[in-house]
Symmetry: C2
Subunit: 243 residues, 2 copies
């Protein structure tokens, strides 16, 4: 499994993903699930993936290869005219890869499924954030639903639902994501360190920070230990059930 | 879906279940998922169920009917010699009901699946807590794994993992379950109020409290509102990410 979150705040976009992939409990590897295409000053596109690793890798490779094949009729991630067209390009590529993996004449098998979060900004329009389904169609984040999760989403959702606020700073947003990831890591073996963190500030058209966070990361350690204690104190602060 | 938790503490057993059942998003009903068989002074058996409602109701009805059919060779929930035999009786009944529901000659279809938590105490032995799988086999709680969840388990797990302590009082345990259920209720429409709460104190052989908790319950309201605030304060107490 996997856990990835893309979150929109007033100041920009924040992305976090884990790096664990597993095919059964005895076949565990580390793979980067966050991919960035950047043309500084013009566009930043971030893609995070969950699901069948063969599918997600094929999608990323196809998106990459198109940039090299000059004659390809499909526009590349670095040439799409808008983020909407970028999401469509990713969606079409997902459909193509899943159709290729599926035995001829049968319906797409859920075994090859993958979901994606795509976000970024292209000069001339606002930053946008999309969730792309295995079927290739997609939805966009709104003020009502300012974040998307893919993968093992349930453990880390309650804290995001409660603590998210669009006026948050990057530093607070990273804290929120760290807590959400830490809750997931503590509950599910299929999500693992290190984490990839990226943030993009509106209208800068370059990545502000792209950092890998491992076991030894002092801020991760502070949040992980601190959150356990803070949670216990919060729990203590509530009145007990009146028997 | 459903959310039920059975939890063992030094002082006894605590059970909580929601009451929402749904067959699709437009067919929502309220059903009790907690069932109690009590012979005061001799035994208390509590059963909570998640899964196909036809299956879980049939299991409970069969367990009930056996008490009336005097000649039935299977011992009833009120006559099993031990909690282990009680768990086995429930497991066998689950297998029977699922086999009955399944088209002849086919393997049991997961569509009829149901899971159960069974706990209680019979005079002469210690209180015990079991998780019964749809296949009819089961596991028992231990000091390492002192609680079982069935249904929509993920949202409410992180707080239990962190705040559970076997020396807790009943009042603290109910607070913990309330927080766990509130996190689930806020994240998933298929889990709904009212909740059923029961606690059993070791070696009393009678139910100490069996209470339904609705929207208006003042303690539920206190925990639900208080937890949001306490969580926000806990979150604020952690240092922000050093940019």
């Amino acid at each position: 499994m996997t856990y990835c979150v893309g979150l929109k705040i007033d100041r920009g976009l924040v992305f976090m993903s884990d790096t664990r992939t597993n095919a059964g409990i005895d076949s565990i590897s580390t793979f980067r699930k966050m991919h960035v295409w950047e043309k500084p000053g013009e566009r930043v596109v971030v893609l995070m993936s969950a699901g069948n690793l063969a599918t997600t890798q094929a999608v990323v490779s196809l998106l990459d290869e198109r940039m090299k094949a000059v004659k390809d009729r499909t526009p590349t991630v670095l040439a799409t005219p808008s983020m909407f067209q970028t999401a469509r390009l990713v969606g079409d590529t997902v459909k193509e890869v899943i159709a290729d993996s599926t035995p001829a004449g049968e319906r797409a098998d859920s075994y090859f499924n993958a979901s994606f979060i795509v976000g970024g900004q292209i000069r001339g329009s606002a930053p946008r954030l999309f969730l792309i389904y295995p079927e290739g169609n997609f939805i966009e984040s709104t003020d009502d639903t300012p974040f998307f999760q893919v993968g093992e989403t349930k453990y880390g959702k309650p804290i995001i639902v409660r603590a998210y606020d669009r006026t948050m700073s990057f530093a607070e947003t990273v804290k929120l994501l760290m807590v959400s990831f830490d809750s997931t890591l503590k509950s599910n073996l299929s999500v693992g360190l290190p984490l990839d963190l990226l943030f993009y500030e509106n209208d800068t058209f370059r990545v502000a920070l792209n950092k890998r966070i491992g076991h030894d990361d002092p801020y991760y350690r502070t949040v992980s230990d601190g959150w356990s204690n803070a949670l216990k104190l919060a729990f203590k602060s509530l009145p007990d059930f009146p028997e």
